[in-house]
């Protein structure tokens, strides 16, 4: 397909499923390389020069970035063609891509329009499933925002180790948790894109200066003798029975190829990761969102009144309800008198959770569990959830995100025609092992 045909299909799909916040009218190809002939969609929160980038929020309406994120620079140099910005929960605040910015669109699941794509990178997952042209999507995860929607839409999604991919040009949600990753139909494409976007970047002081393996070689390696830990607590209460059976079948496929699978317990992570994650995420989010104040870029109003009056007016008008909730809780958790009991306590619990994982990875090459405890829910079901019940949907994905561990979701089957995903979690920088095992996991 040529550029014109690709954009035509993207627009048709967008009309039906609302996957995009912005489609590039006349996409350009800058370089030449391993991504030549591949269309790239980009989660709205990753900036693309000259293309409106809003992180799914109203407060960044009309923000046209003057520079490219590092990942975009690398993609352009390899011949990738940027086709648009995908729909997401505003700033990544959600698990169903329903907490979109004021006046913005909620993407619909490619298999059932009454159901969610998952979030927050919902649009990325949807277009990855539906596009018939060569396509890879750049997504982002703070607490599960890549693997959740990838699982709900039946595509492969990878969230790398914290610092593996430069965050320069990412609109931050929570600095100590954000990771840029990718989604594609196949693990071969994931191996390709990760080799391109991973690596050290002097413009991101948290990016890791470690060599990047050739993942396309990793996926060809056999898995005989590899040790995989099946997370005991992830198969317990609250897990849909058909999801459970499906993931157990996926485990059998790995065993039949010579992997050794054993049950492993993560008691602390299973009990406390969710609360620990949300506390840290909200505290960091509340500081990151402080910069959106109606000056320098994004939404603005007629300048009048004092600093505080003007900032409060713009922020109250343009932030959606979930953003306000998280700002309030996050600000509270960092306030004098509460900081030690909330924010600092969560940072200490995080240390214990990281230690728990590290101990397990002395024995295992990877961990395995379902990506999400259920299939993509209907919008009518999501509406009934309180914010806390909503957050609890992330129970299986927050652990690796909190500990900065790479994780990947592979489509492993269906329930009532809706996709089920199986998740693999690896030690820091073990993306190669995840892809190696993941390549053997897909249902035939």
């Amino acid at each position: 397909m040529n550029a014109k045909e690709i954009i035509k299909q993207a627009k048709e799909l967008d009309k039906e499923y609302l996957f995009f916040n912005k489609i590039v009218e006349d996409p350009k190809v800058y370089g030449e390389g391993t991504l030549s002939g591949t269309a790239i969609s980009v989660k709205d929160c990753v900036v693309v020069k000259g293309v409106e980038s809003r992180a799914g929020s109203k407060i960044l309406e009309n923000y046209i970035p003057l520079f490219d994120a590092t990942v975009i620079e690398k993609i352009k140099a390899e011949g990738g063609m940027i086709i648009g910005k995908t729909a997401q929960d505003a700033f990544g605040f959600g698990s169903f891509a329903t907490n979109v910015g004021i006046g913005m669109k909620v993407p619909l699941n490619p298999f059932d329009k009454e159901r969610s794509c998952g979030g927050s990178s919902g649009g990325s997952a949807g277009i990855t499933q539906k596009a018939t042209f060569n396509h890879i999507s750049i997504a982002e995860s703070t607490g599960g925002s890549i693997v959740c929607p990838a699982s709900f839409c039946g595509v492969v999604g990878i969230c790398p180790t914290y610092g593996r991919v430069s965050r320069y040009g990412l609109m931050d949600y929570a600095n100590s948790l954000d990771k840029i990753g990718a989604m594609a139909k196949t693990i071969e494409e994931i191996a390709l894109i990760m080799r391109i976007i991973a690596g050290h970047d002097p413009r991101d002081s948290t990016s890791l200066d470690k060599p990047v393996p050739n993942y396309s070689e990793s996926i060809k390696k056999p898995i005989k003798g590899m040790k995989i830990g099946m997370i005991k607590e992830a198969f317990g209460e609250g897990l849909d029975k058909e999801v459970k059976d499906n993931v157990k079948q996926a485990i059998k496929r790995l065993e039949s190829q010579g992997a050794k699978v054993e049950e492993v317990s993560l008691p602390l992570t299973s009990k406390y990761a969710l609360e620990c994650y949300y506390l840290i995420a909200m505290a960091e989010a509340s500081t990151n969102l402080a910069k959106y104040c109606g000056m320098r870029y994004g939404a603005e109003e007629k300048v009048e009144g004092s600093f505080n009056e003007y900032f409060s007016k713009v922020r109250s008008q343009y932030f959606n309800a979930e953003s306000k909730r998280r700002i309030i809780i996050g600000t509270f958790a960092r306030m004098a008198g509460y900081r030690d009991a909330y924010y600092l306590k969560a940072m200490k619990v995080r240390t214990k959770i990281i230690e728990e994982y590290k101990k397990v990875f002395k024995k295992f090459d990877a961990l395995i569990c379902p990506t999400m405890p259920v299939i993509a829910p209907k919008f009518t079901e999501i509406e009934k959830l309180t914010p806390m019940q909503n957050y609890m949907m992330d129970i299986l994905t927050v652990g690796p995100n909190l500990a900065g561990l790479p994780h990947i979701t592979i489509p492993s089957g269906t329930k009532d025609k809706m996709p089920i995903g199986t998740m693999l979690i690896g030690d820091h920088l073990a993306e190669d092992k995840l892809m190696q095992i993941g390549a053997k996991l897909k249902a035939n």
């Binding site: 406390y272 603005e300 004092s306 600093f307 109250s316 306000k324 995080r350 806390m388």
Partner: protein, 94 residues
């Protein structure tokens, strides 16, 4: 801890948000539920534990103090309507 209208209004002010009465009414039970859930973390003994501000070990990064390319004044101002004489225009500070 008492989570009430007064506390929410105070935190909102610190965060430069003006909430309507309807918003406060809606948020109150939701914030209560979330903060109660956070209380659970107190069960974990962290007496001898150091906080992890990052999930992986990160070292301080230095670079030479050399001037590199940056946005021009014109580019920086190109994104807003509120500007005057080559400066951003903002609300009164005093």
């Amino acid at each position: 801890m008492q989570v009430d209208k007064e506390l929410i209004e105070h935190v909102a002010e610190v965060a430069r948000l003006k909430l309507t009465d309807t918003e406060i009414k809606r948020f109150l039970p939701q914030l209560k539920e979330i903060l109660e859930a956070f209380e659970k973390l107190q069960e974990v003994n962290t007496d001898d534990t150091k906080p992890s501000f990052q999930p992986v070990e990160i070292k301080n990064v230095m670079r030479e103090d050399k001037i590199t390319d940056c946005l021009t004044q014109e580019q920086a101002l190109s994104l807003v309507k509120n500007k005057k004489d080559g400066y951003f225009k903002g609300p009164k500070a005093v």
